[in-house]
Every structure is written in C-alpha cells, then in structure tokens.
Symmetry: C2
Amino acid sequence: MADAAVIPAPQDTSPAPVRREVGVTELALRDAHQSLMATRMALEDMVGACEDIDAAGYWSVECWGGATYDACIRFLNEDPWVRLRTFRELMPNSRLQMLLRGQNLLGYRHYSDDVVNRFVEKSAANGMDVYRVFDALNDTRNVREAIAAVRRVGKHAQGTLCYTESPLHTIEGYVAQAHELMELGCDSLCIKDMAALLRPQPAFDLVRAIKEGVGEDVRVHVHCHATTGVTLVSLMKAIEAGADVVDTAISSVSMGPGHNPTESLVEMLAGTGFTTHLDDERLRRVKDHFARVRPRYTEFMSAITGVETEIFSSQIPGGMISNMESQLRQQGAGDRLREVLAEVPRVREAAGFPPLVTPSSQIVGTQAVFNVLMGPYKVLTAEFADLMLGYYGQTLGERNPKIVAMARAQTKKEPIDVRPADLLAPEWDGLVAATADLDGADGSDEDVLTHAMFPGVAPGFLAQRHEGPRNVGRDPGELAAERLAREAGDGPSTAPVHYSVTLDGKAHQVAVQRV
Amino acid sequence: MADAAVIPAPQDTSPAPVRREVGVTELALRDAHQSLMATRMALEDMVGACEDIDAAGYWSVECWGGATYDACIRFLNEDPWVRLRTFRELMPNSRLQMLLRGQNLLGYRHYSDDVVNRFVEKSAANGMDVYRVFDALNDTRNVREAIAAVRRVGKHAQGTLCYTESPLHTIEGYVAQAHELMELGCDSLCIKDMAALLRPQPAFDLVRAIKEGVGEDVRVHVHCHATTGVTLVSLMKAIEAGADVVDTAISSVSMGPGHNPTESLVEMLAGTGFTTHLDDERLRRVKDHFARVRPRYTEFMSAITGVETEIFSSQIPGGMISNMESQLRQQGAGDRLREVLAEVPRVREAAGFPPLVTPSSQIVGTQAVFNVLMGPYKVLTAEFADLMLGYYGQTLGERNPKIVAMARAQTKKEPIDVRPADLLAPEWDGLVAATADLDGADGSDEDVLTHAMFPGVAPGFLAQRHEGPRNVGRDPGELAAERLAREAGDGPSTAPVHYSVTLDGKAHQVAVQRV
C-alpha cells in the first residue's frame, strides 16, 4: 500500500518568496483561560503543557496578570509567585510575559511609585521577562513609572495602545500616543484590542501609520480577542502592514470571548511568504493537553460561545457582558440587558470616551446599570465619581461638566488634572508594617505585594496558604457519574427526612433516610 | 443627557473609495443547519425569519439540497416540495438557490438524463432560481446534462469546482475545469470548499487565476466552511482577488463545522471600499430568530464546536468525522479514530485523489474504516469498488491498478471510462409506474421524483404524509423541566432504591421501585 500521502497546497508549485517571520505570543496560560473560564485554571493543569510550549518556538508566553494573581489567592489557594517561579523553571527557553495595569499594577487603585518599583523588581527577580504595560484611559502619565522601572531592571518594556473607537479617536491620535510611549523608552508597542473591535482595515491603517510615523523598526505587537469573529482577518492585515508579533491561543482554548487559534494563524500564513516557524507537532501536543483540561472547567465557562457582533456598538468586552447580566439578575432586572447595552455608549461619552478595559469597563458598565435601574445619574458609584473628577487620569474627550459637578457635590472631592499618583506619598514601608502581623505572612516582599494589591483577600489567603492549592476543576467523568447517579436516584446517603404519613386513616411519624 | 453616541471607526476620517459591492448568499436555511444540527430544522422554525431574510439584501438565499430533502421525508414528515413553495411565497424578492449533485440530483446514484431534466423542470416550476451544480469527482461530464437542463428552463446555472488539495491539484487544473464549465453554458462559477481547506493565499490565487484565465467578467462565488478557523480570511482574499459573491450564515447558526458569520463579513469589509449593502437591522432580527430556534435542536448539534485544523491532513469535512466516530463505536473500536484519519489520505490517493464531498467522502471514509478494522482492502465496499472501476466518473489521478483488479474480481464488473449515465436507459416512465401504486402517492411528478431519489424512504413518507409535519425540535424549557423531574426521581421506571424508614420509632428496611 502507499505511504501516507504528502499533500502540499496547490500554491506550493510556485512558492512565494519568504518575506518575513512573524512572532507569536501564546495566551493559553493567561488571557485564554481568563476569557473563557473565569481565570480558574490551576497551575497543576498547566504544567503538563509547559515543555511543549517552551519548545514550540513562540516569541513569548503570556502567563501572569491581574486576574490570574487575583484568582490564585481568591479561589485556588495558590501563591501567584510560586506559579511564576514554576513557569520560569519549566520554560527556561521562553520569554515569560505579563500584563501590568500601569500605576495600578495588578490591583484596582493607583499605587505610589515606590510600590510600582518594588513590584517590577520582584517580578523580574522571580523570572518575568516582558512587561506589557497599559493604562485603561491611555494616559501615558500612568505608565511612565512602570516603564522606567522595567528599564531599570533590564527587562522588555512594552507600551500599550488600548484600542477603542469614538468620534475623537483617530489614527493620528494613536500615533501621537505611540510617540509618547517610545519616548518613555519602550522596547516595543502593543495594540490591545480587548473587545474585538479592531476591524481589518483599521488594523492595517494603524500598524502602517505607526511604522511610518514612529519608525519602521519599532516593534509592533497586536493583541485581539475573537468575540466578533472578524479579528483573524485583522491579524492578517496587521501582518501585511508590518506587525512583528501577534497574540493567539492554542485552538482547544480559543474563540468565543477568547482569542484566535494559534494553529489557524499558522495555516492562514501558508503560501503568503510570512512564516511563524512554530513547530506543528508541539502545537498538536499543546492542543491535546488543553483539550483534556478544558472539560474540567465546564462550570466556569463563559455563556458566550459563538460570535457576537453587536458589541461594535456597545464596545463592551465579551467577558463583561456576563458580569452585567449577573448584576442585573441580582436586582431582579435580568430582562433589561439591552437597555444597559444601549446606555453604555452614553455613559462612555459623558466620561470623555475612555477605552473600556479593566477598570474603566467595570466603572462605566456599573454606572450604566445604575442609570437604567434608578434613572440617569440619580446615583453615582464612588468609582464613577472618581473617574469624572480625574482620579484615574485624563480622558481624550471632555467630561460632561454637569456630571462632574454632581460628582464633586456627592464626594466633596475636588477635580484634579495632575498625574493621580503624584498625590500619593510613598507607601512601601507602611505596607511592610501592615503585612508583618498577618497570620501566615513569611516576611517576604512578595507577601507585602500580595497584601498591597488585594488587601481584602490577602489576609485569608496567607493564613490558609499552608493548606496548599485547591484545584477547582472537576473531573468530567466524575461529574457525569454524579449526574447519572442523581438521575437514577442512586445518590449518596442523605440526612433523614421526616414525614407525617396517614395510612388507612391513621397518622404515622415517619423518618426516611437513603442508606 | 447626551443622545446615543454615533461611533464611526477611526478610518472614517479618510474614507476609502467605494471599490465594489460584494454579494452574499445566506446559508441559514440549508447548509448552516445541515452542518450544525444534522439538517433537522423544521420549516415551521424557519418561516418566521423569511420576511427579514427576503428584505436584507442578499444576492441569494440557499434553501434546498440533498440533505434537506432527505431529512424532510426521513425525519420530519415534511414534503420538501411544500417547503420549496413556501419559501418561494415568503421570499418573493429573493433568488432561491439549491445545491444539486449533478447527475446524482439529490440522491446517491446516477440518474438517466430524462430524470435529470424532469427534476430541473419541476424544481424551477416550484420556484427555484439558482442551481449550484457539482460533481464529487469534478468530472464535468457528470454535470453537463443538469447544466443544460437549467439553461433550458431559463434559470441560473452555477458550475462548481470542488476544492481539494493533492500533488495533482493545481491552479492550472482548476482554471481548465473552469473553462470547461463555462463552455457548458454556466452563468457563474463556485469554488466550493466543503472541508474548510481553502487557505487565504490559494483563495486569492485561484480566484485571480480564474478571472485572468477565463474572463474578468466571469462571476465567481466562494463557499467556505469555518471548521479550520481560517476561512473568513480566505473570503477576504477571495474578495480582494475579485470574487463576486461569498457564502455566509447568520451568526446564531454559524461557526464550528458550519460557516463564517454574515455579520462578521459585513464588519470585516468596513473601510475597505468593498461593501455588501446588507441591512444591519434585518440581520439583527434574523440573528435573534435563529438564536431562539437553535436551542430547540441541542440534541442534534455537532460534537465539534471549536476550531479543528488537523483536517488539513485528513481533508475530511467536519460533519463526516462524527459519522466515522459512530461507525467505529458500533464496531467497538471507538478508540481508533486517529488511525482512520491517518488512513483516509492513503485511501484517497489509491482512488486517484478525489475531492472528499458527498458521496466520495462517505465512500473513502467508510473504506478507511474497513481498512483499519480488517486490514488494508481485505474487504471492499460495493461503493468503493464502483469508484475504483469508474462508475462514479473520472478522477484526476490514476487509480491504484492492484485495487482496481481486486474490485473487478470482487464485483465481476468491468472498469468503464465513459460518462456513467451513458450506460443508463431512460427511466422516467418506469419510475412513474413504480410510484403510481404507492400508498399516499398523489400522481404528481414531484412524488415520482421523491420516490426516484429516496426509494427506501419515500414509500413510508408518502403513506404518512397526511399526518403532517413532525417538528423534532424540543422546547428547551420542556427539556430542562424533564431533566429536573428525572433528577427529582419523578421519571420513568427505575431500579429499586433502598431506604431505612423509621415508623413510630421502629426502623424498617424498605425497597422502593418506580413501576
């Protein structure tokens, strides 16, 4: 019999010239499971893929960020620093990459500059290589200190343009921001499209404009979510325009509110002259690994699984819509989602057209929920008031003066226009002192940082840390067996149930217990 | 408060010139539910979308084909001709389109030319406008009669290139086939990518080569499945190369083994100068309609929901893999799928590299299963033997002479190289006579055609037709209630459950069984 047929594509008869190698950042270990399964994946379920990821030929491996850190200590009883060191050890040949919220670090408030510096030093010492630094408002003053800190420790500083659309957002504006970021000393730039809004033509135009306006040798990375179904085309156009690296997730943890599949990117480029040099067999093994792991997290999976193009008008990142639905349901208003989605663009305009990404997406989204449930701006959330008063930084558009006045009246705070962190005194020593007494704290700077970032959750975590990780994934076979048993009435023993049973006219006291 | 913000994309500041309008064929009514939910959607669940589909601005609406016809009479007790006439009535402004298997019509064997002509006449009379005519082997002799018949009734004849890849398939070969099809009198051509193998660069090259080689004014349609995650990019490249019409499915019945979402196509083209002129609000309503309908067919949904790039080597259309899995499971060999997938390219090579599409996909796939389970070619299926002997037509490559000899020995049939239908005597009159006696047959040519196409199923259908359609969709609320009832022990008869019952202080051992 014939051997396995080798089947080249038709274009192989006249191969295109090799034009350029495109780098790939693999998202499976961070943003993929954050977007698809509420960041619940345990380190234990990732280590088995690390050898193949390390050898596959990625430009970098994204594996750490605010949500993974938060989920580690809140749900998994896992020390995020152990996770980082484990990745470092298991992937010695890879650039490890993280997402850093500028002056917010991994938390939800601004930190003083000394804390920002300490965080960068410690994460670099524990193995981090590439820092993608962003600010939700695209206010470069909020990323300045973090970028300087990354440069000081000799690591890769990547400046970020959070992509959004509004009457005020223009290609020229993004190029100006790109200039500012490069002047801060960035090693590369990222176009971050967290809501899958970056259509192909704007992707091409934006990458080209940055290359032409800031420099052809400026490294441009492109990060897109897949929610709207259109962004693999955007990656193609970005590559044609000169993008150096694009972000994807291995297919078994891709699509929906997640990302475009790594393997599809590879196939997309066949015959184009662009290559990734990724190792197909390694990719297949990584895919198989996560195909086995994924069913363990079914109960955490996003309800959004298909393509959703209506977010082109609401601009809300896929992951946020389910949050809003749950907020509305808690208020008994689960049927008012469409009203809220229509309100979001209005709130965003009133706030000066911020991009919608953590934390601005939550702040604008929650205010939109309040507006729908209680009437427009009858109640301002504390965070929305701070946003209106400049405590998160500058927005591109003017903030509605009437609502700024309401925020001022409600909070008794004055509007500011300085860099928010300029108002903060150094706080590291105070944080060290406040952490020292915590039950289970080991005196390390890492524990201080955990406490600084998540003051509500850290004490409980540190106290329980010795119990070791809790894997919240569930074996699908076990889950199925449980369901089957329930259906067959053959469940576990239960507590006795008490009945009063009248039999042939006589009442009996009966206790029934499954045994 | 501000009105809803109008948010143009950044590129709107320097709009691209309008270059060209691209037509769209909507697949929701045929291939979408065929690929996603085993063709089970009832007419009743489609009529509500027809007004919006009719007004949305599509180039055509695909709504009929072999599998829909088959499912109508086999599962839904629905007359496929009534379905066609209903669509005609509900979508008076639309081109209705069907998929026709050349000389096989909607069945699995070759029919004599008089039957082919009668089928085309009757379907045109019942409302069909556009006939996409294909042959699984790309043997143009097998589509000649059907194309001539479509021309005779004054309808739109579309010739089809079934896209596949092999060492023998070249752009030049496809252009030659395109020439042949245009010489048969086709009004347009379709590149049919049933397995999602058409990568972006070959898509561009193929469309461009056809336009340059056959004529810039030759209408080229492109049909891609979405299974490999890469084909929306292929549609972009095909459009850039000059494609006139592309096929998509409304987002709520898209992706997986189905197709790229219509709305994503619209968004993809924003700012490019290519437009679709589809009506966004109509699309939203069509989407909402099928989002409501889809959960009714959960139990028929394809197990493949994500992206699958391994089919680039096996070339098996997404829908077929689940068929194979079920064949293997029936033989207690559910664990041997990977071996079968590796065997398929070998069987395909032995058969002269046919494209894999109905019926060649089933024939090659089943032989691959037999080879794995019983050893290579120990048993030939009757269909595979016929394929090897030329009874389905010509293949591009030479068929393995050793296996041809085995087929000859097994079947006592001689190899042929004429057009298979040349060996068939006229059969219409015989079919009329054979149908006349069937219980429930109404004497119409339509009933004769139903009997001709599905002789095993038609008698039962005709006898039961008066009972009216059976909608096999299930209300999701009803399904959930049923499950809940089962879990609460309120289901069908079960095995006995053992309790300890304490009655007036005395413990009893009790077994309870639902009867």
